[in-house]
Point group: C2
Chain length 211, copies 2
DNA sequence: TAGATTGTTAATCGATTAACAATC
DNA sequence: TAGATTGTTAATCGATTAACAATC
């Protein structure tokens, strides 16, 4: 498990998929797996699987294959570190924010929701996925006190433009971005995962109608 | 607007993002835009913008730039065809399915939800995003009668494995797949858009903890 | 005409795949 | 040992970027 000089984004994006399939294999009681078998499940080549794993060092045994539990441990550690959950806030507690918040809280993906914020006075004070919805005015004082690391953006484009700069200033390092505004252009120093459901739907439509 | 010999997937995936920014430009009353300006908004290069557009033929005017409304029309037609909505069914009307269904119905992305299915008798008969939730047993007869083209999979992995083959057999051509099962491996003939929120969250975690 | 900006070809870059030596 | 499968280097492929001629 030596160095990872600079792992490319495509490799990083494949890690969770490996992880899921390894969880399944482990649940089925499988002890070993080969790169070619994993490749088939993943819909890729054995070469890519081995290349991917070797970005992080030798997880396998030559001539034998990979131990499922070793792989699961190693990739799990890559994705979740030592298991400490990242303190996370959610901006925008509407329909989308509500669905997303329960996703963060329910599925254990390495995050801990510690607050939600909204400008709508009707929502402020309500409970959502285990936290109370606060007014946006409390954002600054809350961040200074609790030092959240990740912000989940579930607001419309215009609000996202306004609030993202403030969040970066308040020390947010990563964004799970559902807004239709790509803040990584203005804030290249933070890590952004854009989740544009509409885009994904539209490109499916293109592929069905054309090609 | 001549041929599109074979547009690569990365280009296709960028079309919705272009579309969104063009909608904004149009709403702001902008009439013209240059490849370099679009590139800045998109976080890419002018070269890529021009290459992308030229996959579909010449949308621009040399020396001048691109007319916003022409681009919007052309890309809109690429994404939405002549505007006819794709008949769509949803499988799995739980928490996730509910959130997703309202997304399909509310945002006009080229789809028309015509039915939802679930195995849970408590859900069957209820109204969801304008359609009635039906029992899974009615899937076959419904598909034979109404010929849906797209299926939205909001069921757990195991159910997805079982139901996806049936859906392909019943003529479904495209999947918007929220299940943790990549059916494009077993069904390479259909078009699949995987939306794995957990994966996106996990890879954000990796990038924050490492690199 | 001069300036600007596209359309398009060529060069670069990076990711994927293939090949094979190492080794269990 | 022989067979299998990894680790790793080399070859290929494709996407991005640069360059520049065409032209408005």
């Amino acid at each position: 498990m030596p160095a990872q000089n600079k792992v490319s984004l495509p490799v990083i994006k494949r890690l969770p998929k490996y992880y899921r399939y390894l969880v399944n294999l482990s649940a089925e009681g499988r002890e070993k797996v080969s790169s070619s078998e994993l490749a088939h499940m993943m819909g890729t080549t054995a070469s890519q699987v081995r290349q991917d794993f070797n970005c992080f060092g030798g997880f396998g045994q030559q001539g034998i294959g990979y131990k499922v539990n070793v792989l699961l441990d190693e990739i799990g550690r890559l994705l979740f570190g030592d298991g400490e959950l990242l303190p996370t806030i959610l901006i925008g507690a509407g329909r989308l924010g509500n669905a997303v918040s329960s996703f963060i809280s329910r599925d254990t993906n390495g995050y801990r929701l510690i607050a939600a914020f909204d400008i709508n006075p009707d929502l402020v004070g309500r409970e959502m996925s285990g936290v109370t919805i606060r007014p946006l005015e409390e954002l600054e004082s809350f961040c200074r006190e609790h030092k959240p690391v990740v912000a989940v953006l579930c607001v419309p484009r215009q609000s996202a433009v306004e609030v993202s700069g403030e969040l970066v200033r308040l020390g947010i390092k990563g964004f799970w971005n559902f807004s239709h505004y790509d803040l990584s252009v203005e804030h290249p120093e933070v890590t952004v995962e854009n989740v544009h459901l509409g885009d994904s739907l539209m490109s499916l439509g293109y592929r069905l109608r054309n090609g």
